[in-house]
């Protein structure tokens, strides 16, 4: 006698329920497939019961309804039929990062604070993985940039991106050499440049745009396993992030007014480990009023200022 057939989604396809609809996150393919809530409930039932046992309860007088739904899921290569569902465990959705900090945004003009002593050495101790520099060149020189790139070459950081204000000493040749000599450089963008130039595709550019108008306001989605699992319990925009503005003020994000000290006076390592600084790290999409009912909430990029509502632990997007 044959064993009964079960339908399972591939482990990297994770269904998420919203109020008015649901979605399947294809975490390997980087896409989202919208489904209705009835289909979400069906997928949950199919994990527990064989297809034949589910068919009668689902069809509501239309025996082909379940088969049509399964055919759609199979055609999109979202799942498979098996007699041994116990051999296909679900994806582990825990998010773990040993580093105290994932991201640091450092605004600097080589004037107001000691970049190395006050910021970069503490960031190294905190095992910061990625740094984005926003460098204002009013008082900077070519040697300052070369020294910075050289210093970072021995540090723990995995990648460094530079957004540098245009200055005459930033010639295409100098910028290309800077990129080639510093292998940790991910992006090197010279903004407020006289004209657009692509020095190295996807990596090194001169752009006329200024940082005051950084980009579009349209919704962006990030679909991958790390982002999804992080978003289940944290706000991926703020989590494990610190920002230091050009005056050395420590913030959660450069756009926010709230500061938690100054790198010249306070220890950056101590500040980022304070509970009040880390509060926004835990403002997960499930706690944000505007997105908590959306099935797309775990992939939505949320670079917005948040404010608390009257309900404890709940936030809403601040209206500026």
């Amino acid at each position: 006698m044959n064993s009964p057939d079960y339908f399972l989604l591939y482990a990297h396809n994770v269904p998420v329920r919203g109020r008015d609809g649901s979605a399947i996150y294809d975490l390997r393919g980087g896409r989202i497939i919208r489904i209705n809530n009835r289909c979400f409930d069906l997928l949950a039932t199919l994990k527990e019961k064989p297809i034949d046992d589910v068919r009668d309860g689902y069809s509501f007088g239309d025996p082909a309804a379940l088969d049509q739904c399964l055919k759609t899921l199979l055609d999109q290569n979202l799942g498979f039929i098996t007699e041994t569902p116990q051999f296909f465990p679900e994806l582990n959705l825990n998010w773990v990062l040993p580093n105290v900090l994932h991201t640091a945004i450092v605004e600097h003009n080589f004037d107001h604070y000691d970049l190395y002593r006050h910021v970069l050495k503490p960031l190294d101790r905190l095992l910061c993985r990625h740094i984005e520099f926003r460098i204002h060149t009013e008082t900077a020189t070519a040697d300052d940039l070369l020294k910075l790139a050289h210093f970072l070459s021995d540090q723990t950081v995995k990648s460094v991106s530079y957004l540098i204000q245009y200055a005459p000493f930033l010639t295409p040749r100098f910028v290309e050499d800077l990129y080639e000599q510093s292998p940790k450089t991910d992006h090197l963008i010279i903004y407020s440049a006289p004209h657009f130039a692509e020095i190295k595709p996807q990596k090194v550019y001169f752009v006329p745009r200024s940082l005051e108008k950084p980009g579009s306001e349209s919704a962006r989605y990030v679909i991958n396993t790390q982002y999804f699992t992080e978003a289940l319990r944290h706000n991926p925009y703020y989590n494990r992030k610190v920002a230091v503005d050009r005056y050395g003020r420590i913030k959660n994000c450069l756009q926010l007014a709230t500061t938690y000290g100054n790198v010249a006076l306070d220890s950056l390592s101590d500040v980022v480990q304070q509970p009040d600084f880390q509060e926004l790290w835990f403002s997960a999409p499930d706690c944000i009023l505007e997105v908590q009912d959306s099935p797309l909430r775990y992939g939505l990029y949320l670079p917005y200022a948040l404010e608390k509502t009257d309900h404890p632990g709940q936030y809403q997007i601040a209206r500026s």
Binding site: T103, L127, S153, S159, D186, I189, P214, Y301
Partner: protein, 75 residues
């Protein structure tokens, strides 16, 4: 593609049983081997005692500036 040397990994007694070409193996630096399609770059990390510390971008945008948008849109 950077070829580093011509050498063999195998001792003489094994080479006696292997085709002649196994005596002329050429190690290739992986970051320069385009068929790998990795385009990885390697730096250093003193804390990891590593001189081959892989440079790796983030799985999410770092800030409110999304580079794709910043580079493609009109000023």
């Amino acid at each position: 593609m950077t070829t580093l040397d011509v050498m063999t990994l195998f001792p003489e007694d094994m080479l006696a049983q292997l085709p002649l070409t196994f005596r002329f193996m050429t190690p290739i630096e992986s970051s320069t081997f385009e068929e790998n399609c990795t385009e990885y770059r390697f730096g250093r990390s003193l804390r990891h005692f590593s001189g081959q510390y892989i440079s790796l971008g983030s799985y999410k945008p770092l800030s409110n500036i999304i580079y794709e948008d910043f580079l493609t849109q009109e000023p």
